[in-house]
Symmetry: C2
Subunit: 333 residues, 2 copies
């Protein structure tokens, strides 16, 4: 368990300043107070007083998503959610779910018997049993990258794929690329379908050719790139968008194995901007999702639903981070 | 200027309880404290201490929208925004704007010289000069029912028209209606264009006929109904959706003037659920927008933008309120 001293050391400030931040004293700046609170959550700090107080119980369910370490996609989303929850006296449990888990127990039943006031769900697939149960649940429920029509107890939060993909394609056309492919994430994922549509819309708007062959579905892992790289290269593609940074890292590795240079021969763009992106060789141009803020907005939406405010959808803007993996189009042929 | 006593009288509680609510004492319930705070704002309560403190200045700009009295559409939106702003030590100024005002002064200039940290804009038209300036402003700006692409300093908030219109059409088809018209709001308004599309989408999804003639643009006032009612009736329309409750009130009046009964001969549905809706004869079935919450979410989005969180879009769910103005379809012919 972290102590006040741990927080002070991490931030390079005195123990008494940390104490002021935790206790809401008026003689430290608001921004420092927020930093103290966020760091307390990150380090797992709690007090006896907090543990004794009546607190609301919330659950984060995670499927198909890595979130154990700061390098992984889900980590910051959960951290942002917990940082917001801390300020509102909520306890947060993180529970992995699988299709089998969902078959074994109804969502509402699980929530009620565990006394959860609401949940935030990450990474569920379209065909998951709970997804169909969300159509009629009355328990406040926020979904990352999944949207349920017409149920005021359920809210969707995500990053605007349409703007992100369009930013990326605009960047590439500015570099002279006209043959652009997309190695998408998994099928049965709302976000993959959304990016498929976003790619088709933006390519159409830019007057560029595309087909089912230039936009294959894959998986959100590096190994998924392999079967698609040869095919896209043989079609004369000069730039590849990827469903996430891991796929992009796989594309770069596959290109290197074939003696195809990034970005001289082919440009590569990821999605998410997880920490690995900046460390790849070359560093990855990617469409950034602000995952801490996704988590914080997820908490805001859930807290609103608990207060009977029917938030339907919250979208954050993506941000194109240009690094070394994109460059001028080579002259194909 | 309101006093603590005014708040106590309005809520039917003691002055000391109001005082506890305002001062964040721990021995009153959280929900009562929130009610005290909201009522303080509604009545215009301030203290010397508040007036002396360094506070952030925000502006609400209003065009093409009535907001002076609780009966009018914009009133609750502004109230909700101010109720949230009060909790975060922000001062809110409400400023009417016109096209001439926007021509006379650039948005950024006006904001800077008045020391505003951000703005919430209600009712601007698509062709307004400031709308084009929002593409490049760096000042935190939240727009009700207007969306600006790719500027992370600007956020869109609204109610999901697609779900609202679809709920209404589903309700009508359940009553046997197949010939459904839409008297829309003004042209040059993003929300009118959105509802036009929502109507077209839902009619298509329900396999129902529609054309440009069944979905005329009008204005957001009762008098706008007149030229369209005859035409829609002559086409055999048995139900009319309206761009807002005022248009719907005009449709009901026009029908009465022609001896056409609501809902026996024709069903009418409004949009917004402003207070007049329940008092019409017959009481109006309408698509409710939670305007207090629109205002509160507008503040949340603005506060997030000020903290550099790029919220792009926040949508609330509409709610179909079924009253007496809709009934089974009459057999036309």
């Amino acid at each position: 368990m972290a102590t006040i001293k741990d927080i002070a050391e991490r931030l390079g400030i005195s123990v008494s300043t940390v104490s002021k931040g935790l206790n809401g004293a008026s003689d430290i700046s608001e921004s420092l107070r927020q930093t103290v609170l966020d760091t307390a959550v990150e380090l797992g700090y709690t007090t006896k007083q907090m543990r004794g107080r009546a607190r609301r119980k919330l659950c984060i369910f995670v499927e198909n998503m890595e979130c154990e370490t700061p390098e992984q996609f889900g980590y910051d989303i959960i951290l942002g959610f917990r940082q917001s929850a801390f300020r509102r006296d909520c306890d947060v449990t993180v529970t992995p779910v699988t299709p089998a888990f969902q078959s074994a127990e109804k969502y509402d039943t699980y929530m009620l018997k565990n006394g959860y006031a609401g949940a935030f769900l990450l990474g569920l697939a379209l065909q998951d049993e709970w997804i169909s149960q969300f159509r009629s649940t009355s328990i406040p429920t926020v979904l990352l990258d999944n949207y349920i029509k017409k149920n005021p107890a359920v809210s969707y939060i995500g990053t605007d794929s349409f703007e992100g993909i369009d930013d990326a394609i605009e960047h590439l056309t500015g570099l002279g690329h006209t043959r652009i492919g997309l190695i998408n994430g998994s099928r049965n994922s709302m976000i993959s379908d959304q990016r498929w549509q976003a790619y088709a819309d933006s390519m159409t708007a830019h007057g560029l050719p595309f087909s089912e062959d230039t936009m294959p579905y894959a998986y959100f892992v590096p190994e998924a790139a392999k079967p698609h790289v040869d095919k896209l290269l043989s079609m004369g593609i000069t730039a590849i968008l990827c469903g996430n940074d891991l796929i992009a890292s796989g594309v770069i590795a596959e290109c290197r194995a074939r003696g195809v240079r990034v970005p001289e021969d082919i440009s590569v763009i990821g999605f998410d901007d997880i920490p690995i992106s900046a460390k790849l060789d070359p560093p990855l141009t990617t469409i950034r999702q602000d995952r801490i803020e996704l988590g914080k907005c997820g908490f805001y939406a859930l807290n609103s639903l608990i207060d009977h405010v029917p938030i339907s959808k919250t979208l954050l803007r993506p941000q194109l981070i240009v690094r070394g993996s994109t460059g001028p189009a080579c002259n194909p042929g």
